[in-house]
Amino acid sequence: MDKKGRFGEYGGQYIPETLMSAVVEFESAYERYGQDADFKRELSELLQKYAGRPSLLYYAENMTNQLGGAKIYLKREDLNHTGSHKINNVLGQALLAKRMGKTRIIAETGAGQHGVAAATAATLLGMECEIFMGAEDAERQALNVFRMELLGAKVNRVTSGTQVLKDAVNETMREWTSRMADTHYALGSCMGPHPFPMIVRDFQKIIGEEIRAQMLEQEGRLPDMVVACVGGGSNAIGAFYDFIGDEGVELVGCEAAGLGVDTPQNAATIANGSVGVFHGMKSYFCQDEYGQIAPVYSISAGLDYPGIGPEHARLADSGRAKYVPVTDGEAVQAFEFLSRAEGIIPAIESAHAVAYVMREAPKMAGKIIVVNLSGRGDKDVASIARMKGVDVDE
């Protein structure tokens, strides 16, 4: 990070005055507790004994053999408690919120993964929890809605705007504006106003740190490429961050191209977006010539977001990381491929990263690729079945 809260020109704190005190309070809590030995020990214990860290780095031999090129490893964030990388961030933020004297957590969710993780962390730490989810996403991910309710959270279906992830973020910000004394907004990705992009990245960077240690242990060297899917970008920044200084490690983020980057139905922010200011940050956004945020689309509710975290915007500009579009069709194919090849059903979000590897691995003999498998696909099974015309009774 360069000047306070900035990644190059990106980042910042573009929020209403009413909310400034809350983000300043959050930042000072992080300054106070982030390096505190007690806090770090408590978080590390939760990550190990509750969330199941470190997650495995699995050599996908069948996948490697079938693609016939690079050696492929999967970073198994899908094996974390609650089934995705989201738990890393919420445990950190909920512990901080508790230290700040907050008794209530609010959060947005797209696919429901972050909502489930937030509800889990809140219930574990004895806090109240309210989740905001686009009505359309709640429909697509009905199972996760029930899961959150089962965990004791209240789920609010957001019917404003386009009724997906960006609208859920809007509504959670509005809720926070009206109630912040007892409430912390646990943002789910490396986006939003400073200090969220920095703090979420710090709680997720454990992914890349583990990949490094596990890779050195298993292969005695660093990987040639680390691949992750990107919506807001938290699993990707978590996987990339520790490798930014290692020029030999190529970093690739896979954006949701929906029906194709040339169609209006996509969410490929780096491919199609332009610089703007929204959701508290300066970054790239899909928008029209008048700065109206575009109604984006992806089969994956978790990648269906018109922006990207500010640190990714800088990595894209500098060329240190590369961002590539992956379509719905490619992601579904990868979803089925990994299920058959390895007996691992990936989240449709993570399948976007798998799809890119299917495209590139055959050209990369002798190289090593690590794919961050950010979540498990149980939540997507019903909608994939529906898409294929299979009648399943959920």
């Binding site: 005190s21 809350a22 929204f278 109206q292 945020i293």
Partner: protein, 257 residues
């Protein structure tokens, strides 16, 4: 003396009214603005609709969606303001989010605003920390950059914001987004007093004021009151007779101040 200073001159209480530009149409907004001036508004805020207005409650959110669906753009609003400027004498300010300004081009936006007769801008998602985005450009374009303070702003922030304030200071009455409230419980009078300690700047209270009694009560605490959602709601509920509805409501409030 610019038009905003003129409006607050002599200590009279200023009734500030808000209308979403282009809701339900550019032509209707044009007629509504004239009606507002004739009914006693001392300053008018014209909202430039944005797809994702995070500081707005449901009433103004819906108005933004209607205006965008009806094809409102910032260029059409510039044209509209040019037309009404020939007769409308009171100050006009734009209220919008930073992205429409940023994407249009900050310099071009401000110079076009000045050209068509806009006096100031309010950008609710640009707090003190990010004022650098527009601060200097506003100064060189002769547009007042209107700042906001809120019940959550501590004394240090209130002082810093007030000292640099231009035009008037927008004092947010209570937590939450825009919208009509039954009562306003926070001690907004104290917030105004704090600001006045740091700077000689007119203060107007907004967010939640929806009737004459509230307006009267708030006007005792400040130099002006801002009414937004209540007017936008009337416009939505009185299709075809927007001006009459607005005239009746606004003149009733103006009489009380």
């Amino acid at each position: 003396m610019n038009r905003i200073e003129g409006a607050f001159k002599g200590g009279k209480k200023v009734l500030i009214t808000f209308v979403t530009g282009g809701d339900p149409s550019i032509e209707a907004t044009e007629r509504i603005i004239r009606a507002l001036e004739e009914s006693g508004a001392g300053l008018i805020e014209i909202g430039i609709p944005f797809s994702d207005p995070i500081a707005e409650g449901t009433v103004i959110q819906a108005a933004d969606m209607r205006a965008l669906a009806a094809g409102c753009t910032v260029d059409k609003l510039f044209d509209m303001v040019s037309r009404i400027r020939e007769s409308v004498k009171i100050p006009l300010v734009f209220m919008t989010y930073l992205n429409p300004i940023f994407t249009y081009g900050k310099e071009k936006f401000l110079s076009n605003s000045k050209k068509c007769g806009i006096d100031g801008i309010i950008v609710p998602d640009m707090p003190f920390e990010e004022k650098g985005e527009l601060g200097e450009l506003c100064k060189s374009s002769g547009i007042s950059l209107i700042s906001m303070i809120a019940p959550t702003s501590d004394a240090k922030r209130v002082a810093a914001i007030s000292r640099e304030a231009e035009g008037f200071l927008y004092c947010v009455s209570s937590l939450g987004v825009t919208g009509m409230r039954g009562e306003i419980k926070t001690n907004v009078g104290e917030l105004v007093a704090q600001a006045k300690k740091s700077a000689d700047i007119p203060c107007a209270i907004g967010f939640g004021i929806s009737n004459a009694a509230q307006a009267k009560e708030m006007s005792r605490l400040a130099d002006g009151v801002i009414i937004g959602s209540a007017i936008v709601d009337l416009i939505a509920k009185n299709r075809g007779r927007e001006e009459e509805a607005v005239r009746e409501f606004v003149s009733g409030i103006a009489r009380e101040l």
